[in-house]
């Protein structure tokens, strides 16, 4: 079991409980003195706790660069750096993501953690950083979680069955521009998990509906539309909570994907039970 601070004395965090300021980089920018409360957890099955750090960073640094400074300082002192997931740092790979002051990806709308910059904060702010919390996203270490459940949802049906080489000429499938644009809105999902993190129920309906509707909206995706919807919804429900239409996911989504897609998925899921029954009937007849 992971633990909560209530059962873990803050004094046990030891010598490193308060880091000192990282060396202030020479810069033209304004410098911010910050207090950080960062969730530290050595592994999946051990107690975690918040640890306090102070740091001074330039306001043109990104949020992750701020964590980089803190980490360099920790390493030089011989402490373990804060683990956090990140990669492209331009808001497209979906690897990064933490709760910042109680908001997934922090206070800026439509922005992944890596694209959040420190100028959104003020000198003297205390910033609380916590990992995504969901049973479907177990913590690996500190701020790093395991999001493999998203892959399982896609594997259940988030594709169009077409073997390499079997495709007709691309322009043989006209797609109404509106459908294509709408599919692209859904396909913009970066799979970061902020929707699950922000949802009070840890529901993954925004992610799943975006993946489903990207394909369900296109003519190419019609053949498997209802088997896809049924399989992906039911796989989603193996790992996550249920949608009660809070709308938090839409606010947290760095790509601002609309909860309209959730409604569309709900409609298609109900239809899928009928359509798939018909399909099974056809199978028997055929």
């Amino acid at each position: 079991m992971n633990d909560t601070p209530g059962t873990d004395s803050p004094t046990t965090s030891g010598a490193g409980s308060t880091g000192t300021a990282a060396a202030a980089p020479a810069s033209h920018a304004n410098m911010l003195n910050l207090k950080l409360k960062v969730w530290r957890q050595a592994g999946p099955d051990v107690h975690g706790h918040f640890e306090d750090y102070t740091t001074t960073v330039a306001d043109d640094a990104s949020f992750l660069e701020m964590l980089d400074y803190v980490n360099e300082d920790l390493i030089r002192k011989g402490d373990e750096p804060i683990s956090f997931d990140h990669d492209c740092r331009e808001g497209i790979c979906g690897t990064c993501g933490v709760m910042i002051d109680g908001q997934a990806h922090g206070p800026q709308k439509g922005t992944a953690t890596c694209q959040l910059h420190m100028r959104k904060f003020n000198d003297g702010d205390e910033i609380t950083i916590e990992p995504w919390r969901a049973a479907g996203f177990p913590i690996i270490k500190d701020l790093v979680v395991n999001r493999a459940a998203f892959d399982r949802i896609v594997e259940a049906g988030g594709y169009i069955t077409v073997n390499t080489g079997a495709a007709p000429d691309a322009n043989e499938i006209p797609v109404p521009k509106e459908a294509s644009d709408s599919a692209m809105d859904a396909a913009a999902c970066i799979g970061c998990g902020a929707c699950v993190a922000a949802c009070p129920n840890s529901a993954a309906n925004l992610f799943t509906s975006a993946k489903i509707n990207h394909l369900n909206l296109l003519p190419q995706g019609q053949a498997e539309r209802y088997t896809r919807t049924e399989a992906m919804v039911e796989t989603m429900e193996e790992y996550f909570g249920s949608c009660t239409n809070y709308g938090e996911c839409q606010e947290a989504c760095p790509k601002e994907i609309s909860i309209d897609f959730i409604a569309m998925m709900n409609r298609d899921y109900a239809k899928s039970k009928l359509m798939n029954l018909r399909r099974l009937g056809q199978k028997k007849i055929g």
């Binding site: 020479a26 033209h28 330039a58 790979c93 979906g94 493999a148 892959d151 594709y159 294509s180």
Partner: protein, 642 residues
């Protein structure tokens, strides 16, 4: 092992080579395919496409990625588009023109036969991606839209908003997911490749470090495909994702795979300049911005006024001045080099004087802010998020940054390295872009290799192994490789020095950027060769890696990667020093025309420089092998954009 470079280019006219070759390749009977194990390392466009396709064909595929999900590979960050010779616009495009443009754009340092094949299969890629549901931009009639990209004279670029790479990768990832679901592909996520196992003269498998448990494990197969991307992060600051690394290809190189043209790196002209010395990476702004933005710097060296206060007469629109016909749309290498020249002169802009202006005032005046917003709104928003400046009001500041590496493992026409059974696909190989890559060609090459080339050529290799089992991982070759990899980890952990991995990476990056970046000269390259080995020694003597190697340890992950960059960097500089010519992304100051343009030496350097690893003193030991490039279908000319 001595290396002989045989490119295995098929005979016959260039347009028939690939068709003929596919007929000549041996096939594997569908019922025999499941008897073959294939390892694919990397899950970007090349890796995911190859793994999915091989899985569809019926092979047993194992795909490895250090990410949590295959969808995170850095192919996802490509913005602009993907070229294909569809000629949907009826503007004179053809397979031959795409082939010609790519060879010319690569400054005649790529292999004709490979490039022609790339142009041929480009059309199949668009078909495949569309059928998979990639939401390419469309016209109101429902058919696909195209745009002209990177100065191409035909509109052959397909795109999905500014997220083409993401959408194509998701297409490949979804195809891969289907195969994982069907059980033909096994996914190993959060697994970092450490070594290639070579035995009996062929690749037998790989060794990986499980990033979660820290355990080093061996996997064997009949063939290994490296789809592990480029080495742009040798510069520390680049547009590459933070985890991009050279480890897989460098380890293969040390096991006998020749490394070709490591000095060929592409510097992308439109990136946001670093704001301070703790900058962790550079962000690319799509090249399409140059269609409407005008690039300029102040004429005066000690200009202090804000951009808007500098009168027209005191601005230098240097690209328009020097290249009246192409203007701001000159190819990437030319645009980048000219930006460096003006910044080096001291005419750079911004607080650190490290950029040039990309000014939209004229375009906004001509079309109105709404039109510009429709075209570039998301890019402008991104710029504002990063810099805090509003590009509708003040000009953007841009500066070149490392973006793509044309060099990579040497491969023959079959994409096989000099180690039989070891293939390299996508950016990891050197094959198609010569000394400079054209815009919207990287996605094309990754997918061409993965979907269409490797599945045929790998089968041709596997057919010869029918009846042999993959080697047991208990065999000495595997045990040795495992202990070697574990030894490297133990050695790094044992250093217990005082400096961080990032510190050394940054130091290395500075050396390479200063001396082997946008322009290079003999003295600088020699200085770099003198500086790298001591830096490497210091790294191995003084790096500090806290924590436990037997578990999640991001410092250790980075240290393993940086230790390979430390070696690879030396080969890169060595290669740059030996290539006494300027071509594409490789600009040697000694070799330029009177107007300051790159001067090729086709007489002496029309070859692929493939290096063989022959000992730890890389600058002394590395052995150069040359594959002469023969141009039968394209006449060599000097590129001119005047």
């Amino acid at each position: 092992m001595t290396i002989t470079l045989d490119a295995h280019i098929p005979k016959g006219p260039i347009a028939d080579k690939w068709t003929n070759h596919k007929f000549d390749l041996k096939l594997v009977n569908p019922s025999n395919r499941r008897k073959f194990d294939v390892i694919v390392v990397g899950s970007g466009l090349a890796g995911a496409a190859a793994a999915a396709t091989l899985g569809e064909l019926g092979y047993n595929v194992k795909v490895f990625t250090y990410h949590d999900s295959p969808r995170r590979a850095h192919s996802i960050a490509a913005q602009g588009g993907i070229n294909a010779a569809k000629n949907y616009r009826n503007d004179g495009d053809s397979v031959h023109r795409l082939f010609y443009d790519t060879v010319k754009g690569g400054d005649y340092r790529s292999r004709e036969a490979n490039v022609h094949r790339l142009a041929e299969v480009s059309v199949n890629i668009i078909d495949q991606a569309t059928a998979q549901g990639v939401p390419f931009a469309r016209e109101y009639g429902g058919l696909l839209d195209n745009r002209s990209f990177g100065g191409a004279q035909v509109a052959r670029t397909f795109y999905a908003r500014g997220q083409t790479g993401q959408q194509l990768l998701l297409g490949a990832y979804q195809a891969l997911a289907r195969q994982i679901h069907l059980g033909t592909v096994t996914l190993y996520n959060r697994m970092d490749m450490q070594d290639v196992v070579v035995h009996d003269g062929r690749a037998q498998g790989i060794v990986c470090r499980d990033l979660i448990t820290g355990e080093v494990q061996a996997f064997s197969a009949h063939a290994v495909l490296l789809c592990t991307g480029g080495y742009g992060n040798v510069y520390f600051l680049s547009t590459n994702a933070k985890a991009c690394n050279v480890t897989a290809t460098w380890r293969a190189h040390k096991k006998g795979a020749a490394f070709a043209n490591p000095c060929f790196t592409q510097i992308h002209p439109t990136c946001i300049p670093p704001a301070d010395e703790f900058q962790s990476k550079l962000t690319l702004m799509s090249e399409s911005l140059r269609n409407d933005g005008r690039i300029w710097v102040p004429k005066s060296l000690d200009e202090t006024r804000a951009a808007a206060d500098i009168p027209e007469s005191e601005r230098d629109y240097y690209l328009e001045r020097k290249y009246p016909s192409f203007g701001n749309l000159v190819p990437r290498d030319v645009a980048s080099r000219n930006a460096k020249t003006v910044v080096d002169e001291g005419r750079g802009v911004g607080p650190l004087k490290n950029g040039v202006y990309l000014d939209f005032a004229d375009a906004i005046g001509r079309f109105g802010e709404d039109v510009i917003k429709a075209r570039y709104g998301n890019l402008f928003d991104m710029y504002e998020r990063i810099t805090g400046e509003d590009p509708y009001k003040v000009p953007m500041r841009i500066y070149p940054a490392t973006h793509y590496t044309m060099g990579g493992l040497w491969v023959d026409y079959n994409l096989q390295t000099t180690i039989p059974g070891l293939f390299a696909l996508g950016e990891a190989n050197f094959s198609d872009h010569g000394a400079n890559r054209l815009g919207a060609s990287a996605l094309m090459q990754g997918l061409a290799d993965g979907y269409f080339v490797a599945p045929s050529t790998v089968a041709g290799y596997l057919a010869g192994l029918l009846g042999t089992d993959p080697m047991s991982v208990d065999e000495p070759a595997f045990v040795e490789s495992l202990s070697e990899s574990q030894g490297r980890i133990d050695k790094l952990m044992a250093v217990k020095g005082t400096e961080t991995v990032d510190h050394y990476h940054r130091e290395l990056g500075k050396v390479i950027w200063d001396y082997c970046g946008m322009s290079r000269n003999k003295a600088g390259l020699e200085k770099a060769l003198a500086e790298i080995p001591p830096l490497r020694e210091e790294f191995w003597a003084n790096v500090r890696i806290p924590g436990d190697p037997n578990g999640w340890n991001q410092s250790l992950e980075k240290a393993l990667r940086v230790s390979d960059f430390m070696e690879m960097a030396e080969l890169k500089v060595r290669d740059a020093l030996h290539r006494e010519e300027s071509c594409g992304g490789h600009f040697r100051e000694e070799h330029q025309t009177e107007e300051g343009e790159a001067k090729r030496d086709d007489e002496n350097f029309a070859y692929v420089g493939a290096w063989e690893y022959a000992g730890p003193d890389i600058q002394r030991d590395a052995v150069l092998h040359k594959e002469d490039l023969v141009f039968e279908n394209v006449a060599l000319t000097q590129r001119s954009y005047k």
